[in-house]
């Protein structure tokens, strides 16, 4: 089986899984499909020779975030009754909007295929390896790497601020 066939099959599966996320009525099932989607995306990364990204994707997204989602959903105990009602017009509008966006993006992307191929050919194929990535991160991209720590500390502080139990006010 050529690489191209595998890519195509994996790509198709990824899109299918992503669609299932949206289509499934049950939230927990949606989340599970999302996990599947992440795994499939990771496999795409591996095919592109980006092993580090693939592993990180699985650990962070499929592992940590999705498990969190699942817990939250189970705790919230969603069922059909609590599902918000949306107006039929809004539904139609959403479908139409999404459809148009999809179409125009496909149409636009068609022009870009040639360009994308050229870019792919020129790109070095082993940039995604852990060693190379590390070197890039600590030389060329050291500043963004360091600055991202600001982002992390800010989000941590924010999370603590929001989640901390307030002292009861005694009136």
């Amino acid at each position: 089986m050529s690489l191209e066939t595998i890519t195509t099959i994996l790509g198709g599966l990824t899109i299918g899984a992503a669609l299932m996320v949206v289509i499934s009525r049950h939230p927990v099932r949606s989340v599970l499909y999302l996990v599947l989607t992440f795994f499939l995306i990771s496999s795409n990364y591996i095919l592109m020779n980006a092993q580090f990204l693939a592993v990180v994707n699985i650990i962070v997204y499929a592992g940590a975030i999705m498990v969190l989602f699942l817990f939250v959903l189970m705790l919230l105990n969603l069922d059909k009754d609590s599902e918000p009602k949306t107006h039929i017009l809004v539904k139609i509008a959403s479908v139409v909007a999404g459809g148009i966006l999809f179409t125009v993006l496909i149409a636009a992307l068609k022009d870009g295929i040639a360009l994308g191929e050229a870019a792919a050919a020129s790109a070095q194929n082993n940039e995604g390896l852990v060693q190379n990535l590390g070197q890039l991160l600590f030389s060329k991209y050291v500043l963004p790497f360091e600055v991202s720590s600001v982002l992390f500390i800010a989000s941590m502080v924010g999370a603590v601020l929001l989640a901390k139990r307030e002292k009861q006010v005694i009136d």
Partner: protein, 639 residues
């Protein structure tokens, strides 16, 4: 110190006084406020004297540039020459004395610090007016003195009884002056348009040296507009009615602003622009006849006024008319001479009347006075000197200055001389009438008022004495060449020495015999009037009649020739009618309607747009996606 430093100091001192009193005066004791304001004035006068001693040539002091465009440049500059330093001396000298007087006169007033702030500010503005080196500075000072005058006329705006009237008087003065100021402004624009400069010196160079003279019509327009400006500030027909009303202000204000200094700004303007007026004989004629008419009308009205200050106010208007007659005949130095002596004796008379009013516990009606000479001897004596001076009693200052103008009139036209003599005679009559009614006879006021009668304190009588001395000897400044060989016409020579334009105007002097005749007739007339008045008011004890008893010319005089009523019918009411109609038709019916229709429409659309904001996140997200769709569709359609 060099002259430029001194001049800056002269300007800065009143400003400093105004600043300190204006900001901190509320918290300072009255003594300090008054002393400070008065001291800066005396210091400024002293410095002005120093400058006066050292001045030989015209000096220009550049302060800063106000505006610099391709077409025009406006500079804040000062110009020191004979004319401006002379005016500075008069303003600061008389001003200093009046400040001193005010310290006593205003001592019971709540707005003491405010009063001195305005007064100092007025002096500052007046100095800009006279010392500026161009019409722009003049205009700046012109408006500055206008606003100070407005503030001071309406000074007692919160008075329970007369507050409203005071405010109305202030407003009237302000509006009347606006009409004049418009004329001045138009004149400035015309000058700028024709000559491209507002600097006196450059303008004089263009006209006197380069002979770049625009058409006669243009000169007529410029000078006429300047003259309209002057009629506003110097209270000439038709804009004179504000000045008598301006007596609503405190008496020192009347003395300083509405007699001695500000109202002579118009005279100063014309003298300053003498070379322009010399090129427009028509305007000179207009000026002459307007001045003559004003002089006569005002003197006539003054005959039967019973308010001590109103009489003096009309007398001021009449004297200003006389001055314009002089200007119309080209007798510029004579005019400045009379401005100076007039400043002395009119300030004296106003301050004297202030002292009388002070003694009478704020009573101004001469019908309730009488016999005051026993109670307030110093005031009486100085007031008498002032009266004699203004009436042209021989050897007092007014005699010389008036005589010079009369001499010019004789050479100009016999009829004008005759009319002028009549006006001068009227002046003598009403002044003596007032003097005798106030100081002689029996006291006609209430017993309580009599009990309160007292001579004013020293700081009020001292200025009176100084001004009285000046009124007596002021004539020495410009003695006619009749009795002496040397030292005559000193002021004329001084002014002609370095004031642009004046050196070119040579006044012809009368034959000695003719001059003697003139003087003789003036002397005889004055003395006759004095004796007649004495007989009528003292010997026979005639009194001023009550308003209801007046008939014929007396009624007309008492009612001020109905000027106010006519103006009211002619201008005020039609304009009010137009205002009312345009309010009803244009504003209410047209503008308001259309605006309300417009605003309702906008409000409706606003509601519509607001409903777009549903509050659901899903809707917001949908709209965002639609926005992106819109952008991409736009791209696909256009490219």
């Amino acid at each position: 110190m060099a002259i430029d430093k001194l001049i800056l100091l002269i300007m800065a001192l009143p400003l400093l006084g105004a600043f300190v009193n204006g900001t901190a005066g509320k918290y300072l004791p009255k003594k300090i406020v008054g002393t400070l304001a008065t001291l800066v004035m005396f210091a400024a006068f002293g410095l002005a004297l120093m400058v006066f001693n050292r001045l030989h040539d015209t000096q220009i002091i550049h302060l800063f540039q106000v505006l610099n465009l391709d077409s025009i440049t406006l500079n804040a500059r000062l110009q020191v020459d004979s004319l401006s330093i002379w005016m500075t001396l008069v303003v600061t000298g008389v001003g200093a004395l009046i400040h001193l007087f005010s310290m006593g006169y205003m001592s019971h007033d709540k707005g003491y610090y405010k009063f001195f702030t305005y007064l100092n500010l007025f002096i500052f503005a007046m100095l800009i007016l006279v010392l500026g080196s161009n019409y722009f500075m003049l205009f700046f000072g012109w408006e500055g003195v206008g606003i100070c005058s407005y503030l001071l006329i309406g000074f007692h705006y919160s008075d329970l009884e007369k507050g409203m009237l005071n405010s109305i008087a202030a407003r009237k003065a302000f509006i009347m002056n606006r009409i004049g100021d418009l004329g001045l402004l138009v004149a400035l624009f015309l000058i700028l348009n024709q000559f491209g400069t507002l600097e006196y010196n450059e303008l004089a160079d263009r006209i006197l040296v380069d002979k770049l003279i625009p058409s006669d019509w243009m000169m007529l327009g410029i000078t006429l507009m300047l003259f309209i400006g002057a009629t506003g500030k110097s209270a000439q027909i038709p804009l004179f009615t504000w000045l008598p009303d301006a007596m609503a202000g405190p008496t020192p204000v009347s003395a300083l602003i509405h007699a001695a200094t500000m109202v002579t700004a118009g005279i100063f303007l014309v003298v300053r622009s003498n070379y322009l007026f010399e090129l427009a004989p028509t305007t000179q004629d207009i000026m002459l006849y307007v001045g003559l008419a004003t002089s006569l009308v005002a003197a006539f009205i003054a005959m039967r006024q019973n308010d001590i200050k109103k009489v003096l106010a009309y007398s001021t208007v009449s004297q200003l008319g006389l001055l314009f007659v002089a200007l119309g005949m080209g007798a510029y130095t004579a005019a400045i001479f009379h401005v100076t002596t007039h400043a002395f004796f009119k300030a004296l008379l106003f301050l004297g009347s202030g002292s009388v009013i002070h003694a009478m516990s704020d009573e101004q009606d001469i019908r309730k006075m009488g016999g005051l000479k026993k109670f307030i001897p110093i005031t009486h004596l100085t007031f008498l000197i002032g009266t004699l001076a203004i009436a042209g009693f021989p050897l007092l200052s007014g005699f010389y200055s008036k005589d010079e103008i009369l001499a010019h009139a004789v050479m100009h036209n016999g009829v004008i001389y005759a009319v002028l003599m009549f006006s001068v005679a009227l002046t003598a009559i009403y002044m003596f009438r007032m003097y005798f009614l106030v100081f002689h006879g029996e006291f006609r006021g209430s017993a309580e008022a009599k009990h309160h009668l007292h001579e004013s304190p020293l700081n009020m009588t001292l200025p009176l004495i100084v001004l009285a001395i000046l009124s007596v000897f002021g004539g020495l400044l410009n003695l006619p060449g009749l009795f002496f060989e040397k030292g005559t016409h000193w002021l004329s020579h001084f002014l002609e020495h370095n004031t642009r334009g004046l050196e070119l105007i040579h006044s012809v002097h009368l034959e000695t015999s003719q001059a003697m005749l003139l003087m003789g007739s003036a002397v005889v007339m004055t003395i006759c009037i004095l004796i007649a008045s004495f007989v009528v008011y003292v010997k026979r004890g005639s009194l001023a009649k009550a308003d209801s008893e007046l008939t014929g010319w007396e009624l007309a005089s008492n009612k001020k020739l109905y000027f106010d009523e006519v103006y009211n019918k002619l201008f005020v009411q039609p304009i009010e009618w137009i205002g009312k109609m345009s309010h009803q038709v244009i504003e209410v019916a047209v503008l308001n309607k259309s605006i309300s229709v417009f605003t309702t429409a906008i409000g409706k659309t606003g509601d519509l747009v607001r409903k777009w904001q549903t509050g659901y996140v899903s809707n917001y997200l949908l709209w965002m996606v639609l926005g992106i769709v819109g952008l991409v569709v736009y791209y696909l359609l256009k490219f």
